[in-house]
Symmetry: C2
Subunit: 677 residues, 2 copies
């Protein structure tokens, strides 16, 4: 209804969103875009000083949109904008806060100018995230103090936040107050305010200072990993990892729980060790990026439930026995300083929730990164450590359990086992005809044939076998007929190859002879090693079967293997051993440190923190310890499976020529001797 | 409308409120009273273990209420209640949580059983307060952890708070978590939860532990005072005071501001001194009550704006010069530990708001205690220290100002001045005929005649003159004609009494001869001393006049003198000097440490914290420094006033016989020579 008093309007079209609508003549593009629902990046609040709101004017006629657009559709470039663009080498772009709409115009908003940028979070399962960090920075100009204005400087800052950024009733962190007046009196026209969830002011810096950083930390029992992120762009500025210093108080989780129980200062020491690790990583990762740990304003912490409790200074003793009650499982918003973290003095810490006594915040983070609850396909998400945390999830339900695999997959309780470090045998192949092995050593590129006559170069000299190596060698020995399906060394095989020996009634296999190892002693796989792997894989398999039974399904669409072990693990060998249920091998993927990825996602988006809390609420925990059928499943899963019956997806990728496997598969296996029923 | 399905109801009448209504047959009195709007005290949540909900059944017929009431109107006393009453010697009372209504009944709720008790806050201006502290304790029974219940112990506590006390979404202080599981596993049937504002859990104790204490602190420039209160009853359990340890860095406020500016660690030292003072008082006042400072869960802090800032670690430098901008003036809810306060590890601190650069949180506390804004009468509330904070207030408006009286009223800048401590001359009378003085020394009961021939007992030997003494001696010298109305020693008087001397052109008065003093030197009032008092009283008077002019009034209904000086000050002498405007002397009252009282009120009631915030918002600050008429008022107020013209209320109480005053009052005073116009 145009009339004499109707304001003149123009069509504004914004790409790539395609959002369009009429905007008032003379309105700047920053505000005009906002009225159409497109939020542009802006920190300076329209003062033509931050350069975050750059846009591109598309020139030409756009019949599809029924408009013609040209640079003349915007107001001419005035002095301030011209100066900014010259100084920063900006060509062919306008500052949206400076350019006013004076004609129909089609504008492209480059990705970096979009306020809630979509970022691709990670390589493994690419989850795209809308950046919405808990901490953001805004630039405000604050009225000067005057004799006739009795308001405090804080009140003037709060008023500026309200009027310039619609931030209502912010409260200052107590650490902000001492430096506030000095920041307002440097002669700079404004201050940069760092806000947590638009409610708490964490920092006030003089002038324009674009610097909001966050830390995402996964406290693993063995390794602590920290990512430093730019909270404005979502970029990872660096990653650092270190051995968990708690290791000196106990190699595995339960020994640390015991240490906390037995030593009067045990829990305090374990707590301090965890804090110290985060502090050290924060310092290292910040320094590597040319920053200080004091620049970090926000952190997200994940860890298994014992690490979670120790990080918070809570004695994990209750997690050591039934009913495995957590002290706290809800997400926590804390102050970094309350935990002794040396980040910015007012920095915040968010701790992701835990699901159950043995399904901790790290697993919630894995689920957040993998997001099986957002898809139709049924996924099995497995994080193997001392315990395996297992989730069976799709859009409808999330079932979780923890299965007591023990530390064998981490190389512990294996005669020549070791952590996945330089010198560890990580890959093994055994020729099914000859029974001769070849293997790969971590830190050395080439495969080593076992019949090599030394000397090998130093990095090729093996020191032991790590988790993935032990899984592969056991699976390969089984494929070669050297191990029977019940896990015993085959006495007939001993006759065919001298590597298979029976020094006692229990057999063993010489994987690397003394001449090839760093220790100059042979690396041997013993019957006990095989038993340890059988126990561990049976626990894992029984756990997954239990969840599948609870859900009433007999197959899964995909399997995600998280964690360090999961990353090295060969899915094919895992399936040969019967560690994981049958699944298209192409849909079995290692997703790396998904817990760290999940922590990073929660760092970059409060929406995802809410989602993590939602996952915690949705998740149904299946208590394995009390489930009557678990023991049966466990016993049944001890044997190595008949691939052709139980694992149809595996058959295609098994060696065709191997007589030994074929021979064994023709044998009749006793009912319930394996997970093949 | 009784029908077959209507529940049977009985009339319940509750005294002293008189509230009445029908309640369902069989409902316990605790819940029945609640349905009628009467909240009874209860900590155990109806478990017959806390004994807080005792009530008395009135026996007899009550025609006015149209009911008959008897002990049979309630269910009989069962075993648990009987045992509790026997154990605790309770006779003639019932536990409301145990007694069920089975007939019409009239019940009296003793004051101690009323949940929101009315307490009388203080003696001076008796303000009654409804107890509503920020921290309260509730007893909850928490479900035990079980294998089939994956909820954390915290979640179970939160659920119990929700279901048993309707506390929604509480969050735990991080310090609560480490001890939570142990508190739930002592075998006691429940835990006592200490809640801050029903939103944050500060403490969880095993079993029933009725102990919530709070600290109200007034940090004065000279003296720091702390009251320990029982947050459940409002009772003051003890009060302790100490010299402000900042005194070693500067006697008065401005010298401390300078110290903070000049010394690199100055502000940090002043901050730590303030914190240390509060810590020491907390420890002392708790120990005296048989408690530990760790039992203190909440604190309220007030102080002038410099103390307020230093307590928070803020450099007060901006308060040292125009425009006297406060860093922060809004009320603050902080954690005690963030300031280094050693109370309970999770304790809270509330800091009252400040009004302006020189009208601090202590004045807000004075206004909260005096509550002039709740009355129709117009009150002048004056707190004299180095600055005088003055409010002119009634129900309509609160006008505030700060007047630069300087430290003369505190005994500084006076030749023989000293603090109000043992040995100080605090009261003086000068015989108008003879000019001979008598005086009272702090710490000694009897008046001392100046012509006493020594030796005096030790406590009677004066060491100096404190503020109230100097005000009295100057006023008395004026009444006796020894001082002229312009403040000069009268040369004619020197001839009449040898105590009046003119060693130079400036006169002086020997108040105590050498033989009567502790120093064995005479205590003399010099011309400079009189000038200092004139400057101070002129500043105070001009300030009050300015507020009155702003309000458009020429009299006030009452005057409240707060603070230590105000408590010792003789209102009559203050009026003789022209320190305060004319007012019925009976309506001029010393209200003691009203700032400390206000802090205590805010400790006992969050409603009063809200009211303090409201006072801060309402208050209109009159900036004296920039007011053109202040200088004129100040100069005019330098002289001593003509009582008959300017202070009609004073005439009645002045000495009738005194020729000198009569003589001088007949003199014509120059226009503008005093505040009498």
């Amino acid at each position: 209804m145009p009339s004499d008093i109707a304001p003149v309007t123009h069509q504004l079209i914004l790409m790539p969103s395609g959002l369009r609508g009429p905007v008032e003549h003379g309105m700047d593009v920053l505000h005009a875009a906002r009225t159409l629902g497109v939020e542009l990046e802006s920190i300076c609040g329209g003062r033509q000083t931050c350069g975050k709101c750059q846009v591109v004017v598309e020139e030409g006629r756009f019949p599809k949109h029924a408009i013609a657009s040209s640079s003349a559709s915007l107001s001419p470039i005035a002095a301030v904008e011209a100066e900014y663009c010259t100084e920063h080498g900006i060509v062919g772009r306008r500052l949206a806060c400076a350019a006013q709409v004076v004609g129909d115009v089609l504008i492209t908003v480059p990705e970096e100018s979009q306020a809630r940028k979509q970022i691709i979070a990670k390589a493994a399962t690419e989850r795209s995230v809308v950046l919405h960090p808990a901490v953001r920075q805004v630039y405000v100009e604050v009225e000067l103090a005057g004799l006739e204005d009795r308001r405090s400087d804080w009140q003037r800052v709060a008023a500026a936040l309200e009027s310039q950024w619609q931030v209502h009733n912010p409260v200052p962190d107590v650490r902000v107050l001492p430096g506030l007046q000095a920041a307002l009196r440097t002669g700079e026209p404004g201050v940069m305010v760092s806000l947590w969830r638009d409610s708490e002011v964490l920092r006030v810096d003089a002038g324009y200072r674009d610097s909001a950083y966050g830390l995402a930390v996964d406290i693993g029992s063995t390794t602590v990993v920290a990512h430093l992120c730019d909270l404005r762009t979502g970029a990872i500025l660096g990653t650092q990892a270190m051995m968990n210093p708690q290791v000196r108080y106990g190699e595995d989780l339960m020994s640390r729980v015991s240490y906390g129980m037995m030593e009067p200062q045990g829990v305090a020491r374990l707590h301090r060790a965890a804090i110290q690790a985060v502090n050290e990583l924060a310092e290292r990762v910040a320094a590597a990026a040319g920053l200080s740990s004091e620049d970090i304003l926000d952190a997200v912490i994940v860890g298994n439930s014992v690490m979670h409790h120790l990080f918070l200074g809570i004695d994990p003793v209750e997690l050591g026995g039934a009913p495995f009650a957590l002290a706290v499982d809800t997400p926590l918003d804390l102050k970094a300083r309350d935990l002794g973290l040396r980040l910015h003095p007012a920095a915040r810490v968010h701790v992701l929730p835990c699901i159950a006594g043995h399904v901790g915040a790290d697993h919630v983070a894995v689920l957040l990164a993998e997001a099986p609850h957002t898809r139709d396909e049924l996924a099995l998400v497995i994080d193997v450590g001392t315990n395996a945390e297992i989730s069976l999830a799709d859009r409808e339900r999330i079932l979780c359990a923890s299965s007591p695999t023990g530390p064998a997959f981490e190389g512990a309780q294996i005669s020549h086992g070791q952590r996945a470090a330089a010198g560890a045998i990580e890959r093994v192949r055994v020729d099914p005809e000859s029974g001769e092995p070849r293997y790969k050593v971590l830190g050395h590129e080439a495969w080593i044939e076992a019949d090599t006559v030394g000397p090998l170069p130093e990095p090729a000299r093996a020191t032991g076998i790590c988790g993935s190596g032990i899984v592969e060698v056991v699976a390969e020995l089984f494929l070669a007929g050297i191990l029977d399906s019940d896990g015993r060394f085959n006495e007939a095989a001993a006759g065919r190859n001298p590597r298979v020996r029976f020094p006692t009634r229990a057999g063993e296999y010489v994987l690397a002879e003394a001449g090839l190892t760093a220790t100059e002693a042979p690396i041997i796989v013993t019957q006990n090693d095989v038993r340890a792997i059988q126990l561990a894989k049976a626990a894992l398999y029984a756990g997954t079967k239990l969840l599948m039974a609870h859900r009433g399904v007999d197959h899964v669409d995909r399997i995600a293997l998280a964690g360090a072990f999961g990353s090295y693990l060969s899915p094919r060998h895992a399936m040969i051993l019967g560690m994981i249920p049958d699944c298209d091998l192409e849909r079995v993927t290692a997703v790396g440190n998904a817990a760290g990825d999940g922590a990073r996602l929660a760092l970059l988006s409060t929406d995802l923190r809410d989602e993590a809390a939602h996952i915690q609420t949705l998740a149904e925990h299946v208590q394995i310890a009390t489930d009557a059928s678990f023991q049966d499943e466990f016993v049944a899963a001890m044997a190595f499976p008949n691939a052709r019956d139980a694992f149809p997806h595996l058959v295609a990728v098994l060696p065709k020529r191997g007589a030994p496997l074929a021979r064994r598969s023709q044998r009749r296996r006793p009912v319930n001797a394996g997970p093949s029923r």
